[in-house]
């Protein structure tokens, strides 16, 4: 049986019949557009589909059945922290006072949201050990850009203009080097040491007067805490560079390690990972950024500021000329931040620490179980996630990690993250999170172990998986060679019929 629905759907365009769909908006006066000059008018109407509401609803409900989701099953995607998305938070974000407030509403009518944002900033300050937090960035990658632009501004403010390099470990997220390039820096990649940590010798050799920043994910994308982090940060600062922490893996260290106190100068949070805001099929997220003393003057504008009378206001235009400016319109993804706020309030300080304790305990337990049948390249306590490898299985049977991932679908699970980080042969990065029960962890481990057995006894079964999903493996080569990115029927394809 398939773990998702099996009925593929025609597109909106195939369902369309001219004349369907009416009754949402009163008809405007006939002359409403007469005052618009002909040259500015649209001459050919947009060929949007015409459907009635029941058809639209059925279309999207049936399409939704084709999706795997946290609400339908275990989602062990390493590096993504697919924890439960609390339902209260969806309710809260839709309260009319939050949902209907215009982003340019004067401060005096936005006190509820401003207070919430301020309190959220203060909570993130406490969690990170940073001096201050901006909530403006729309996602982790934009938070990274924010951090690197502040670092650039910091060096410029000191007339230290020769720093054009950013160091990143080879196990880093792709967003780190992409961000450095986007901000005009050259990326220097540092190889990992045999124990999975940063290779200190190679790191020292690369660090110098051209280094603007070092970007470190801690715990790393291998799920390992960087034991020499203190030493590493000292050397970064001694070289006149600043240290950026990619906070993607914060779920492992809440209440256990505060990056700001340890000496990081800047970090981003992924609220859609650590603080349970939904992933939405790819977004939205929010990527608040915390800074230490050195970067305080450069925070994006506007900041939320408390007044003496207990009220709050947004910083005025040009109030702080040292700011790097803005990375997006308005205040930030406030609707997402409402959810993060509710999550932090629901847990409190003790609950957040328990979140990390449970996430780390679950990951270590699952690592031990998965280790019954798979290679564990770094066999020391992990944090919230761990890497397993099918290297041995591939060597013996020809079955690859990709095949095992696809076979997991037949066993009822979303596959883990595979082939990331790139430094591990046939790697799979597994992150259970703290919201999965021990029964679920055991059942998942049993499935992985069963697949390892299948690889020995019936490798073709695994290599041709999935067998139960609504579609089999896709022809990605044709998709890239002859891109069809806009509705037009595809010759020769087996099309679904309307119901």
């Amino acid at each position: 049986m398939s773990v998702v629905g099996e009925k593929l759907q025609p597109t909106l365009f195939e369902r369309s019949r001219p004349g369907r769909g009416e009754g949402k908006i009163p008809h405007p006066p006939k002359d409403a557009l007469d005052r618009i000059p002909a040259a500015a008018r649209r001459t050919t109407p947009a060929a949007l589909p015409e459907l009635n509401e029941p058809e639209v609803v059925r279309h999207y409900v049936n399409l939704s059945h084709l999706n795997y989701a946290i609400d339908t099953g275990f989602y062990p995607l390493g590096s993504c922290t697919m924890k439960f998305n609390p339902k209260l938070n969806e309710w809260a974000a839709r309260l009319p006072g939050f949902a209907n407030l215009h982003p340019l509403a004067p401060d005096e009518i936005a006190q509820g949201s401003l207070q919430l944002l301020w309190e959220l900033e203060q909570a993130l300050v406490e969690i990170s050990g940073m001096r201050a937090v901006t909530l403006q960035p729309a996602a982790g990658a934009q938070g990274e850009l924010c951090g690197i632009l502040m670092i650039r501004a910091y060096h410029r403010s000191r007339d230290d203009t020769g720093r054009d390099e950013v160091l990143v470990p080879d196990s880093s997220h792709g967003t780190n080097p992409a961000t450095a390039s986007m901000a005009g820096f050259k990326t220097i990649t540092i190889p990992s040491a045999a124990d999975g940590g940063v290779d200190l010798e190679k790191f020292r050799a690369a660090l110098g007067p051209r280094t603007a920043a070092v970007m470190i994910t801690n715990p790393s994308t291998l799920g390992l805490f960087e034991k020499r982090i203190g030493e590493l940060l000292d050397e970064v600062h001694a070289a006149g560079a600043l240290a950026y922490m990619d906070g993607a893996n914060l779920n492992a260290i809440l209440g256990r390690f505060k990056p700001g106190e340890a000496g990081f100068d800047v970090m981003h949070f992924n609220v859609h990972k650590t603080f349970s805001t939904p992933h939405g099929g790819g977004g939205p997220g929010a990527g608040p950024v915390g800074v230490g003393e050195r970067l305080l003057p450069f925070l994006p504008a506007p900041r939320v500021l408390p007044s003496d009378d207990g009220r709050f206001r947004l910083e005025r235009l040009d109030e702080r000329p040292t700011s790097i400016g803005r990375l997006r319109s308005f205040v930030g993804n406030t609707g997402v931040l409402v959810r993060a706020y509710a999550y932090i309030r629901a847990h409190g300080g003790t609950g957040l620490r328990q979140v990390s304790d449970d996430a780390v305990l679950a990951a270590n337990y699952l690592k031990k179980r998965v280790g019954e049948a798979y290679d564990i390249p770094f066999d020391r306590p992990c944090k919230h996630e761990f890497v397993a490898s099918a290297s041995g299985i591939k060597h013996r049977t020809g079955v690859r990690t990709l095949d095992i991932a696809k076979r997991l679908i037949d066993h009822g699970y979303h596959p883990p993250t595979i082939y990331f980080p790139l430094t591990v042969d046939e790697g799979m990065l597994i992150e259970p999170t703290e919201t999965e029960s021990v029964e679920t962890l055991d059942a998942f481990a049993d499935a992985l172990i069963a697949i390892a057995r299948e690889a020995e006894t019936d490798p073709d079964l695994v290599k041709s998986a999935p067998h139960t999903a609504p579609v089999g493996r896709l022809d990605e080569a044709t998709a890239a060679r002859q891109p069809n990115l806009r509705w037009r029927p595809m010759a020769g394809a087996d099309m679904p019929c309307p119901d």
Binding site: L145, F330, V471
Partner: protein
């Protein structure tokens, strides 16, 4: 633990399996000097109390005013179906569709989104979404530099000030950004100055990668887009149009006037204002720029059995594959908001969308008449769709006082464009299909009283 499943027994069982006595052992690799002891945050709050707290905070925002505020974010009627669909867990609790076999729902919905927006903008390639209109515009600017291998972009001063500020921040890494001034007076006042644009394009040794202008522009005015595009292309530059999607039901689309790239804010397509987001960055381009466009793209293909299916494609542009050579660092996007826009467009339909745009225009015309009668005439003579600037003496103070009378009187332009003296006494106001005659009457009478007796207003 509000959402955790583990009983004390479960934890003990896991610890026993690991052969350790305490979870502390799993954190032993954090250097002792760097270990945190606790988080100084409030106690956990039970759902009942937390719900009350959230309701109190939401209640401290005022959303009951008769609002004429637009300036990039617009109130519209959203069919009830949109949020019902969005609340399905299969949509909002799914991850990025990296496993296409069990993500066909999300993948098909993104393909349909790309197709719907392509129809609206009349361009062939639509990215699966960006953060918001500002970030999409900044990415469009960067795209023109990559595509032309030039490093200077011109942006009209009538593009949203937040978008221009975002462009400036994104361009901080060594690219140049120059403003195109506005026409100061006459019939074209408030629109992009074509003569100045020509001069900027002709500057020796400073070739231009892209020209960015908005339609309608930030002041609500219609720009001579075809002419701007012609000038840009004559200088070898690409032309970026910053659009508002509802208006495209009635205004010429970017593809029709030769734009190479369209960027804009998708919020009007069924997305609530939410005090800033999450919104939907629209980004589209011609086929010629398909390898330069940043962000995810979903294409149609077949599976091994010949069944039609959808998959993320042309991924060699993306950060997880190309790292420092990627077209952008974007990873997480705004997929759920792209879904909202698609459900909105599917539900409201092409005729409904045209009605939304035309209703806005009709109500804005009524608003113009009422405000002029109240003593606040339009500032610019040129054509507009549903947003315009009016002259109000002491606009900021009047705006503040009207809140007490239940009116959110648009935006005092001096707050966002302090360096435009002609806009010092101006309010930017808009109307949409949700603006009622009662709202307009309330605004006009309150404003009329303010203008007639400013002193008594000030002393209230």
């Amino acid at each position: 633990m509000p959402y955790g499943p583990h009983t004390a027994g479960d934890r003990e069982r896991m610890l026993a399996a690991l052969g350790i006595a305490s979870v502390d052992d799993l954190f032993a690799d954090i250097p002792e000097a760097l270990r945190a002891s606790h988080l100084d945050l409030p106690e956990p709050e039970p759902e009942l109390e937390l719900a009350a707290r959230l309701q109190r905070l939401a209640g401290r925002n005022r959303t009951d005013l008769a609002s004429f505020l637009g300036a990039g974010v617009y109130r519209h009627w959203t069919p009830a179906a949109v949020d019902q669909i969005l609340l399905r867990g299969e949509w909002y609790t799914a991850y990025t569709p990296y496993q296409p076999e069990i993500s066909q729902g999300t993948l098909q919905s993104i393909y349909e989104y790309e197709s719907l927006i392509a129809e609206l903008v009349d361009l062939d390639v639509v990215s699966a979404s960006h953060y918001d209109g500002a970030a999409a515009t900044a990415e469009a600017g960067l795209m023109t530099c990559r595509a032309t291998r030039r490093s200077r972009v011109l942006v009209s001063k009538a593009v949203h000030p937040h978008y221009r500020a975002t462009l400036a921040a994104y361009f901080g890494g060594g690219l140049e950004l120059d403003d195109i001034p506005l026409v100061a007076d006459g019939e074209a006042a408030g629109t992009t100055d074509l003569a100045a644009l020509e001069r900027l394009l002709a500057e020796d040794g400073r070739p231009v990668a892209g020209v960015i202008a908005g339609q309608p522009n930030f002041l609500g005015l219609l720009e001579p887009m075809e002419e701007i595009g012609r000038l840009a292309h004559a200088a070898g530059a690409l032309f970026v149009s910053v659009i508002e999607p509802v208006s495209l039901a009635v205004l010429a689309p970017p593809g029709a006037y030769g734009a190479d790239i369209a960027a804009g804010e998708g919020q009007p397509l069924g997305i609530a204002p939410q005090y800033g987001g999450p919104y939907l960055g629209l980004l589209a381009s011609t086929d010629a720029l398909v390898r330069q466009i940043p962000g995810r793209l979903v294409g149609m293909t077949t599976d091994v059995n010949g069944k039609r299916a959808f998959v993320m494609t042309l991924r060699a542009r993306e950060q997880d594959i190309r790292r420092d050579k990627a077209a952008s660092n974007i990873c997480t996007n705004q997929a759920l908001l792209a879904l909202a826009a698609s459900v909105y467009l599917a539900t409201i339909g092409p005729h409904g969308l045209r009605d939304v745009a035309a209703q806005g225009a009709a109500r804005a015309a009524r608003l113009e008449t009422a405000l002029a009668a109240a003593g606040a005439p339009r500032i610019h003579p040129g054509p507009y769709l549903n947003e315009f600037a009016v002259r109000v003496p002491d606009a900021r103070a009047v705006h503040r006082r009207l809140i007490e009378q239940g009116v959110l009187a648009g935006l005092a332009l001096a707050d966002v464009l302090p360096d435009e003296p002609s806009l010092a006494d101006a309010l930017l106001v808009c109307a949409t299909e949700v603006t009622t005659d009662d709202d307009i009457a309330l605004f006009a009478s309150a404003l009329s009283a303010e203008i007639a007796a400013p002193l008594s207003g000030a002393s209230r």
